[in-house]
C-alpha cells in the first residue's frame, strides 16, 4: 500500500495522468502514454487495441480503464523468488548518473533493517570520488565497505569483497559499479568480467544484477535495458527519481519486450527512499484510477 499511496500522490498531482473515467478514449490514452515515456509505438498500439475493443462492442462505457489496466499489468513479469544462497551477490549496474551508488546504499540499509548483514563493494574505481561517495554512505549506515584506491581493477575489488563477505559471514554483498553507456564495448565487457569473478568465488553468483534506470529517461531506456541484459545478465530493474515529475513509463516498454521485472523504485535522495515496486500501484497511478480497495 505504501508504494501505491506515495506513487498515487506523486503521479496524480502532476497532471498528464490519464483522464478520469468517461473521457478515457483512444486519443487521450495515446497522448497520456506518450507523455509518460511509454513511446509512440506502444502508445498507438494500446490506443488501437482500445479502439478495436470499443468498435466491437466488447466494452461497455466505464470499462475502458479496467481493460487497459489488465493489458498493462500483463507486461510485468513476476519477480523470481529471492535466492537462498548466502552470501547473496548483487551487482548494481547502469548508465552514468542513474542512481546506482545511492541505490546500493539504500539496498544495504534494507538488508540491515531486516536483520541481515550487508557488505558493500566499491567497484566504481573510475569516476572521481565514487569510492568516497560509497564510503560516506557506508559510514552513515554503519555498514562495512570493501574498497581499493582509485584506478584499481574493479574485478580485483570484487574479488576481495567476495572473500571478505564469506569470511565475515555477510548475508548480502552489494557491488556498486561505474556508470557506463551501453554503447561502450570495452566497458560492457568489464561487466561480463565481474560476472566471471563472482561466479568463480560463489556458486551461481551474481544472484541478482540490477539495472538502475532513471525515471526521466526517454526511449533510450529500452535500448539500455536490451544491451545491459545481453552483456551483463540483468535480472531486474530499479526505477529511480520517481519523486520528480517523470513517470518512468519506459519501464512499460522494457518489461514488455524484455520480460524484466521492476523490483524497486527510488523516490528521493535519503536512505529510506527506496520502495518495493508494486505493478498494480504503478499502473493505477498511471491510469489515474479514482479509487482502489
Amino acid at each position: 500500500m505504501q508504494f501505491f499511496e506515495r506513487l498515487r500522490g506523486l503521479l496524480t498531482s502532476k497532471g498528464a495522468t490519464l483522464p478520469e473515467v468517461g473521457s478515457l478514449n483512444p486519443e487521450t490514452l495515446e497522448e497520456a502514454l506518450i507523455l509518460a515515456d511509454a513511446g509512440p509505438d506502444l502508445a498507438s498500439e494500446l490506443a488501437s487495441d482500445l479502439r478495436r475493443a470499443l468498435a466491437k462492442g466488447l466494452l461497455s462505457p466505464g470499462q475502458e480503464r479496467a481493460f487497459l489496466r489488465e493489458k498493462l499489468l500483463a507486461f510485468f513479469p513476476k519477480p523470481a523468488p529471492a535466492p537462498a544462497h548466502r552470501p547473496e551477490v548483487i551487482l548494481v549496474v547502469g548508465v552514468n548518473g542513474s542512481g546506482k551508488t545511492t541505490t546500493a546504499a539504500k539496498l544495504a540499509a534494507k538488508v540491515a533493517a531486516s536483520g541481515g548483514k550487508p557488505l558493500l563493494a566499491a567497484c566504481d574505481t573510475f569516476r572521481a570520488a565514487a569510492t568516497e561517495q560509497l564510503q560516506l554512505w557506508a559510514q552513515r549506515l554503519g555498514v562495512e565497505v570493501v574498497a581499493q584506491r582509485a584506478g584499481a581493477d574493479p574485478g580485483a575489488v570484487l574479488y576481495d569483497a567476495l572473500a571478505a563477505a564469506q569470511a565475515r559471514n555477510a548475508t548480502h554483498l552489494i557491488a556498486d559499479t561505474a556508470g557506463r553507456l551501453h554503447t561502450k564495448d570495452n566497458l560492457m565487457r568489464e561487466l561480463a568480467k565481474l560476472h566471471k569473478v563472482a561466479a568463480r568465488a560463489v556458486p551461481e553468483a551474481p544472484h541478482q544484477v540490477l539495472l538502475v534506470v532513471d525515471a526521466t529517461t526517454g526511449l533510450n531506456g529500452l535500448v539500455q535495458a536490451r544491451e545491459f541484459r545481453e552483456h551483463a545478465g540483468v535480472t531486474g530493474l530499479v526505477l529511480t527519481k520517481l519523486d520528480g515529475t517523470a513517470k518512468g513509463g519506459v519501464v512499460l516498454a522494457i518489461a514488455r519486450e524484455l520480460k524484466l521485472p521492476v523490483l524497486w523504485v527510488g523516490v528521493g535522495e535519503q536512505v529510506e527512499d527506496l520502495l518495493l515496486f508494486d505493478p498494480e500501484g504503478f499502473v493505477d497511478a498511471l491510469l489515474g484510477e479514482p479509487q482502489r480497495g
Binding site: D37, D41, N96, A128, A129, Q133, T216, G218, N220, T245
Partner: protein, 306 residues
Amino acid sequence: MLEAVSERLQSVLKKLRGEGHITERHLDEALGEIRRALLAADVALPVVKDFVARVREKALGQEVLTSLSPGQQITKIVHDELTRLLGGEAQPLRLKGFPAPIMLVGLQGTGKTTSAAKLALFIRQKLGKHVLLVPADTQRPAAREQLEQLGRQMGLPVLSTHGESSPEAIVRNALVEARRKGFEVVVVDTAGRLHVDEELMAELERVAEILQPSELFLVADAMTGQDAVRQAQAFGGRLKLTGVILTKLDGDARGGAALSVASITHVPVRFAGTGEKPGDFELFHPDRMASRILGMGDVLTLVEKA
C-alpha cells in the same frame, strides 16, 4: 526501431520527389512521419505539436522553389527550423565582470560536476583565462571531493570550502577569493535538485542573486524523455538561464530533449558533453543535432540526393 522510423520518413519524403509542388496531401503524410520521428527521438509531445504546426505553416506559405522537389523542400524546412530552435549560430562565452561568474544547475545526475570541470578546462585552454572551480554542492555525499579530484586531474584550482555548509557562503567567499587572487572566471557547481523541490529551488535563486552569473547553464542529459519540458519550465521560470549544456551525447540517444529544452527555455544549447574524460566537451552544433534527432545522417546531403 529508431532506424525504421527515419527510414519511413525518408521513404515518404522520397515519394514526393516526382511531384511538382507542395500540396496539403503531401504535407499531411510527411508531417505525420515527422511527428513520429520526433516522438521516437524523445522530443516532448507539446513541442512536437508546435513544431509540426510551424512547419506546416512555413511549407504552405513558401514559394515553390523550382530547384527542389517537395520532399527536399519539406526536409529542408524541417532541418532549418530544428537548427534554428536548437540555437542557430554558435555563441561565444560571455565573460562579464571580475571575476566572471558561471553557474551550472540541473537535476540529479545529469552531469553538472563533470561539466563544470570540463568547462573550466575549456576556458583555461581555449580562452587562456585563469579559472577557479567552486564546489557549492553541499548535499550529495562526496560531491565536493569529486570536484576537487577532477580539478587535480585537470590541473585546475578548486576553492577550498572547509566544511562550509551553505552554498550562499561558499559562493560569496568564492567571489572574494577570486578577486584577491586574480582569477578571471569562477565556475560554480551546484547540487542536483528536482524542480519540484521548493526549498532547493529557492536556494538556487539566492545563489544566483549573489553571483549574478554572466552565464547560467542548465545541464540536461541527452537521454531525457518527456520530462524535459517540465525541467525546462521550472529552471527557466525561476532563473535567467543563458544556455544549455547537453551531456552524454556519446551514447546512442537521439537527444530529442535538446529540442524540448531549447524551445521551452528559449535559450540555445551551447555545449555538448561527449564522454567522461576531461576533453570530451565541445561547442554544440545545432545542425548536426538536427540530423541526429531526425535520424537521417547528414540531412543536407540527403536533400541534395532526394
